[in-house]
């Protein structure tokens, strides 16, 4: 038991320290250009976004398109709060939490249709939700209607982004390794059988949507305070597809996959920026290709730790073979 605990500590704390050191050296000693640093921040905040989507689309296995709506509500709530209530930079955590909580409340409401409606019907309801949020914001004068909100304080920096990412990974990992996470995976495989082994399906779905929307809301809040402005057009069809590409590229139901998916796609998008609107043609085509050739995404539902374990196992086998060639023969 003790050795296992130590191992966990090593596995958890050391990467965090390494990441922190890299980030500080990148930012404070200006090892990379500002534009590269910006890409790094996009990667971080979209990783949070994808982790959130993965909660519902990956672990729970529901094809939901509500993420654009959640992100919009988180972003707008945070922008309003920083404009009217939390004006100081030290209040940024409150702003982020506020964005997250507003999105979470909406997420709780959006979980209700998922109790009864299934599959394609639910996809359409959630798509409707996202488009409704967008059209609502386009008509709401208080938030600038279709012009959106400008001059939002730029509180976001790379520390906040990666701090939030660590927090998101922490939450998702805890959640997945509890009875709630187990029941999500059970529902994904067979909802009726889950109910008949006492899993409270409604509660599990509610929680998945709440956690998902919370994380997506935080990502939205970070995005607004990174760009300094927001408008309804950012939360439409392109945003929905963006999220889907990242989730399915990385792999459904994998934390590592979420981060890898977000990283690859953001790097690709930034490199393709010169293509203008053609990049959405590339994006759409890529999404198809992923589904056809890479059905489970890069990581499937595996984690980095699984890969490490497999490698370790492989090497231990080789060492064993060297030591006792007789034994392995049978």
């Amino acid at each position: 038991m003790i050795s296992k605990k130590k191992n966990n500590l090593l596995g958890d704390v050391i990467p965090v320290i390494i990441i922190a050191v890299i980030l500080i050296s990148l930012k404070e000693f200006k090892l990379v250009s500002t534009s590269r640093l910006l890409i790094l921040q996009y990667i971080g905040l979209y990783s949070i976004f994808v982790l959130g989507i993965n909660m519902v689309n990956g672990y729970l296995g529901i094809f939901s398109l509500a993420h654009a709506g959640f992100m919009a509500s988180g972003a707008y709530a945070a922008a309003i709060s920083s404009r009217y209530f939390f004006k100081e930079s030290w209040m940024f955590p409150l702003i982020l939490l506020f964005g997250g909580f507003v999105a979470m409340v909406i997420g709780l409401i959006m979980s209700i249709p998922s109790f009864k409606a299934k599959g394609d019907y639910l996809a359409i309801i959630t798509l409707g939700f996202s488009l409704i949020v967008q059209s609502f914001l386009q008509n709401w004068r208080f938030v600038g209607a279709s012009k959106g909100i400008n001059n939002v304080a730029k509180f976001t920096n790379i520390y906040w982004v990666f701090g939030c990412l660590l927090f998101a990974i922490f939450i998702v990992r805890k959640f997945i390794n509890s009875k709630y996470g187990r029941s999500l995976k059970a529902i994904r495989e067979d909802q009726v059988a889950s109910e008949l082994v006492s899993v409270d399906v409604k509660r599990a779905k509610t929680m998945a949507f709440a956690v998902s929307a919370f994380l997506i809301g935080i990502a939205g809040a970070l995005l607004v305070h990174l760009l300094g402005y927001t408008s309804p057009s950012a939360y439409g069809y392109t945003n929905i597809v963006d999220g889907l590409v990242m989730v399915y590229l990385g792999g459904m139901g994998s934390i590592t996959g979420s981060i890898v998916g977000a990283t690859l796609w953001q790097i690709l998008i930034q490199t393709l920026k010169s293509l203008g609107t053609w990049r959405w043609v590339v994006g759409g085509g890529l999404l198809c290709m992923i589904m056809i050739f890479l059905n489970n995404g890069l990581f499937g539902n595996k984690e980095l730790s699984d890969a490490i374990r497999a490698i370790r196992y492989y090497f231990s086998r080789i060492i064993l073979k060297k030591n006792s060639p007789e034994e392995t023969r049978k």
Partner: protein, 314 residues
């Protein structure tokens, strides 16, 4: 979209207003119904919610626009241009639909159902932005495809195109339902929609039937696009989004896969679109009303108004 200025000359104010709104409702309802059928058709037979269907509609709009503009340079016979450009555009969208099915959906027939849906989201994006890149983001104006004359009904003057839209839509629906009910292909389609494996055992080539359903869907979408273009001439590259969204709701409301359901759903949405702006202060909140109706219906009957409710076997 709905708030277009009705050029009905009012004689008796009350009846004229009522009649004019009623015609608006029928016109919009029949366009939605047609779009919803075209969407529902593919769903019922291929078992796929085709998120790329809106892009087929967009492509139909552009094809109609370019072909009819070209044709009007040589002739001024409006009806002739209308029919000819509809045919050419149908051919074009059919090819797009077949390619789409072959390349993006067919390889995924044995994959988990979600993969095909995701793939269709990708195809939709790809086609929509292809249209944007080729045609530009500036809005286009569809030439008049139906002669610009008016007729008089009950002392009220109504433009001919409104009546023709309704008539053409109804004819298209009747032809379709005859096709599905009476022809051998229709029987095969219904068989495949109910049970692919059993249909295969009866010697039905389900791949061929699915291809036909995509062609039917594309042709119907083109007709819907022609009618939509006649009703609201101005359009841009994202025209498919809106129409796709409304036909989704209509199809789901009525019960996906059911033709009668799609028609019912289409007319319910037409009614919402006409009534909501009168009752509500902001006209674009009609989206929210439609969405609300959809949610309520799905919560009460998860498979839509006329959808078959399949009890899960344990």
């Amino acid at each position: 979209m709905v708030g277009d200025i009705p050029y009905i000359i009012m004689k008796n104010k009350e009846t004229a207003l009522l009649l004019q709104q009623f015609v608006n409702f029928l016109q919009l309802g029949s366009i939605y119904a047609l779009a919803a059928i075209s969407f529902s058709m593919v769903y019922g037979i291929a078992g796929l919610v085709n998120f790329a269907h809106g892009s087929v509609f967009t492509i139909a709009m552009y094809l109609l626009f370019y072909v009819s503009t070209l044709l009007f340079k040589f002739t001024s016979a409006t009806w002739g241009v209308f029919v000819l450009s509809l045919m050419i555009a149908s051919l074009g969208t059919s090819i797009v639909a077949i390619l789409m099915e072959r390349i993006a959906y067919k390889p995924l027939r044995n994959a988990p159902p979600i993969s095909v849906v995701v793939s269709s989201v990708g195809v939709g994006m790809l086609l929509e932005y292809l249209a944007l890149n080729f045609a530009g983001s500036k809005a286009k104006r569809m030439p008049n495809l139906i002669p610009d004359v008016s007729i008089e009904i009950a002392g009220t003057t109504i433009p001919l195109f409104k009546i023709m839209i309704i008539v053409i839509a109804i004819i298209a629906m009747i032809i379709l339902s005859l096709l599905v009910r009476k022809t051998q292909l229709g029987v095969a389609m219904r068989a495949v929609s109910q049970d692919k494996t059993a249909a295969a055992f009866m010697g039905i080539d389900s791949n061929r039937v699915i291809t036909y359903s995509f062609i039917f869907g594309a042709v119907l979408a083109t007709i819907a696009a022609g009618l939509y273009g006649s009703a609201y001439a101005i359009f841009a590259y994202n025209v498919g989004d809106t129409i796709n969204w409304w036909s989704f709701i209509a199809a789901v409301l009525g019960g996906i896969g059911s033709i009668e359901g799609a028609v019912l759903g289409g007319f319910i949405l037409g009614a919402i679109n006409v009534i909501a702006p009168i009752v509500l202060p902001v006209s674009s909140y009609k989206d929210i009303v439609a969405f609300g109706v959809l949610i309520v219906v799905l919560l009460i009957k998860p498979t839509g108004l006329l959808g078959k409710s399949a009890a899960e076997k344990v």
